[in-house]
Amino acid sequence: MSHPYIPNTDEDRRQILDRLGLDSSDALFADIPEDCRDPRIDLPPQLSEQELVAELAGLAWKNIQPQRPLSFLGAGAYRHYTPSVVSHIINRGEFKTAYTPYQPEISQGTLQTAFEFQSMICELTGMDVANTSMYDGASSLAEACLMAASVTGRRRIALLSTAHVSFESVIKTYAAGKGYEVDVLEPDQVELGPDHACLAIQNPNFFGYFEDVEALSQSAKAAGALFIVSADPISLAMFRPPSDYGADIVVGEAQSLGIPPSFGGPYAGIFACRQDLVRKMPGRIVGRTADVDGRTAYVLTLQTREQHIRREHATSNICTSQQLLALAATVYMTTLGKHGLRRVAELCYHKAHYAAGRIAEIPGFSLPISGTFFHEFVVSGPLPTPELKASLLEKGIIAGYDVSDRFANGLLVCVTEMNSRAEVDRLVESMQEVVR
């Protein structure tokens, strides 16, 4: 019996070998040095499909999924309701099992939806152009910083300390290649010099709060540095787009647009910028054109930025990105639409504020940061954060992310439309019980 994924039968192989004039396929591997050929390799045994599903389902069961228990964990990945249509669409084989649309005549499905994605991202961010996706929000930000260095010819990158915990690390990793310096600045101590390529911020920031964007933008402009904003796309349905406050490049994580948490990936990085920077942009871009019969059609364009043409002179080495997730985000945005996306943002806003208000009323708890927040907020409690988290987990609640390195007994709590009032109330009651 053939393997189900390998159609050739013994007879097929015999016919091929006959045609090749060979007795066995071994001859085809003769270029492999003999002492390296066919080594002993220890792999676990083959499983039937039924056993495979059972084995992996068993491993899946070993995880605590934040459906039950309740979860208030955000910190860069957000639990939003994904309308059922999203998975039905992205699971269509025609989308899922195609590759990069290098042959536009038979790839309009991918190309047109990518153009939709670009368009929607431009609308959300207020920027002129967007690409079809980066690996994720962090690498997107890092590439934006490299791009700023390339645009400005400068070698220092400035990043606000209030950005996501991963951002600093990823930017430093990427910057190490070209040997750029990375300065991590406190929001109220931003001073940029003539060698700063950019100021990168996250807004709302890692803790959920809005930065003083006008002042920060001002500082960047004054220093001749690009102003790079990482923004959550759901927040943009409700709050001012970064274009409003002078962003040159806007990046973000598309995960909140209907992509499941999935232990951290696959997600999709958002990358948008000003029109005049487009030829410095990394990643794929789809443009609108027509075919010889005059039919509207879409095509990969401005490819002379890319590695397959420009090789070592490319704007980035990125090739395969996260197209299917960009499609998921596109279907999500289309399904919720103008009103639905805003509604989701508003639900998150009001529910988070309700939760913050209720928690702040618990004796011993307070909100160490004041200001407007979205998606999440920091609470300081009377207990060490790990202890608080552990007690709440025992009660079936994933309470949030430990930020006690920045705020005494700090816990970053996220509330979305997935959390009913009853869930928030249960969190509050459980917190009361824990500290009682």
């Binding site: 491993l59 070993k62 994720d136 190490a176 054109t289 059609a297 639905g340």
Partner: protein
């Protein structure tokens, strides 16, 4: 419009009438009607908080559509795509093999898809175990000592690998500024080297398709940090002198970087570590069959020998004595390369794929992918020029230069294949082959499909002689025909606009001879 019938009864299943609706002309924004919505949202069940008026945005332009219209719009668009599920997709260097459906189901299990990346390790032991086991499998298959699964694609793996090399050399106080890359290499190799601050020097390919060892020797000086080499190379050929090459490189104090994107050819038969590599990246979306998704997601893990292990990106998964799994940062890690821990949903599928094969199954993968490529080589050679006339591994590269004599370019042949119901091979890559046609059938196709494809290729070669126009104006039966790519690049329209002026109607067929298909 030319409307020739291929001399063959296979026509592209997506063939359309020439005058049907201009689907590209109607985007969601155009279909939108105010007041529609595609999903019911919950009511607000808490008191309203005060809104920060100065921070709110005025308006947002997004489409408004009912659910049925969303479904119909995207369903219709999907049918404009060629895909593995709809036909043979011999796109060289891309390993377009069958993507098992069960792996999608597994990745979608709530116990995986709903797990949050910031949960404490104690609550994610199942997910961590999958990653740990996959690390072990990939280490076994490459012979490497340590594996990091964080990179999201091949190029991301290259970045991670070359940065690790850089950090390692820096730690040893070495100042090396150059990376050697064969002229047959994939574009991401030189691009990665440059992105990591290295200069790139090209090594010639010898007339037999192997590395020109003299050229290598000449360029191997103490400024060389590494040789980046693809095994088997993009010509589908395995470098027989690889062990000697590795010795030379190591002797020069440089490291061996392996681009493992073509690992399908040798999986279960040769290990990168044994061949002398210090670091290798793999493309799991190729070798391990995870769906390509129209351009990702992928996964590009790297494996390294022990001296590079401390430099691997963060995180890797470790197992403690008690058997518990945890995310960890290697001692001298280059840092994180992404927001969280890599494309978990892709990695789960790759693990499932490995388990569905076992070692014997994987050896059958490489055997059949190589048999299939050689069968195509044998059937087409003579008619199509074979620049390197020796047996190949998983893919075979032809040149369209015979056909060029009739004024038919490789791009035309590619487009004509569409009329015959096939996805074109990769074209104009590798760059060192004139009018390159790079064909990778993979092990997923049975002999009868190879024959149908070869029949079509031979029919097109005949057409190129007898009726070149029909080839040069192909495709004729695709949802759209050749595009005006020049105008697209010259006057880019990159987003929908309320009063979108349509692009000028193309009068000439477009398409420069740029590499197509090497993602």
């Amino acid at each position: 419009m030319v409307n020739h019938e291929p001399g063959h009864d296979r026509v592209h299943p997506m063939a359309r009438q020439p005058f049907e609706t201009d689907m590209g002309d109607r985007l969601t924004f155009d279909l939108s009607r105010p007041g529609r919505i595609g999903c019911i949202l919950p009511k607000l069940d808490v008191p309203e908080a005060e809104l920060p008026q100065d921070l709110l945005r005025a308006d947002l332009t997004l489409p408004e559509m009912s659910q049925i219209d969303v479904v119909r719009y995207f369903t219709a668009l999907s049918t404009l795509n060629y895909s593995i599920d709809t036909g043979f997709y011999p796109l060289g260097s891309c390993t377009m093999k069958y993507n098992p459906k069960v792996n999608d189901d597994i990745a979608a299990l709530p116990g995986f898809s709903r797990v949050h990346p910031m949960q404490d390790d104690a609550t994610t032991q199942g997910a961590l175990e999958v990653l740990y086991r996959l690390q072990e499998c990939l280490a076994a298959l490459t012979g490497m000592d340590a594996v990091c699964l964080a990179p999201a694609a091949g190029a991301h793996g290259e970045l991670s690998g070359i940065l690790s090399v850089k950090a390692y050399l820096q730690d040893r106080g070495e100042k090396r500024h150059k990376i050697l890359v064969p002229d047959s290499a994939h574009g991401t190799n030189p691009a990665t080297a440059a992105m990591c601050g290295f200069s790139v020097a090209s090594i010639r390919t010898a007339p037999d398709g192997n590395l020109d060892i003299d050229d290598l020797a000449a360029q191997l000086d103490d400024d060389v940090a590494a040789l980046m080499i693809t095994m088997p190379n993009t010509l589908g050929l395995f470098e027989p002198e690889i062990c000697r090459v590795a010795e030379m490189v190591h002797a020069a104090g440089a490291l061996m970087y392996g681009d493992g994107a073509n690992m399908n050819a040798i999986i279960g038969r040769a290990r990168f570590a044994d061949l002398g590599f210090d670091v290798v990246h793999m493309n799991l979306h190729k070798t391990m069959s995870t769906p390509h998704g129209g351009g990702g997601p992928g996964a590009g893990p790297i494996g390294v020998r022990s001296h590079l292990a401390p430099y691997l990106p963060t995180p890797v998964v470790e197992r403690d004595e008690a058997g518990a799994f945890r995310l960890a940062a290697p001692a001298k890690s280059i840092g994180k390369v992404g927001l969280f821990h890599g494309n978990f949903g892709v990695l789960v599928r790759a693990y499932a794929y490995i388990r569905a094969h076992g070692l014997e199954g994987l050896r059958s993968v490489s055997e059949n992918s190589v048999l299939n490529a050689n069968y195509i080589r044998e059937r087409l050679k003579g008619v199509y020029k074979l620049p390197y006339d020796r047996s190949c591994l998983h893919e075979v590269v032809f040149s369209g230069s015979n056909q060029k004599a009739h004024g038919v370019r490789t791009l035309d042949i590619a487009k004509r294949l569409i009329d015959y119901g096939f996805h074109p091979p990769t074209v104009y890559f590798p760059l060192i082959v004139d009018e390159a046609l790079m064909i990778e059938p993979t092990e997923s196709e049975g002999l009868e499909n190879l024959d149908a494809f070869c029949d079509a290729m031979l029919a097109i070669a005949r057409e190129a002689e007898e009726d070149p126009e029909v080839v040069k104006t192909a495709p004729h039966y695709s949802p759209v025909r050749r595009l005006d790519e020049a105008t697209a690049a010259r006057k880019p329209i990159l987003r929908w606009q309320p009063s979108a002026e349509h692009a000028p109607h193309a009068k000439e067929s477009g398409g420069p001879s740029i590499p197509r298909g090497v993602s």
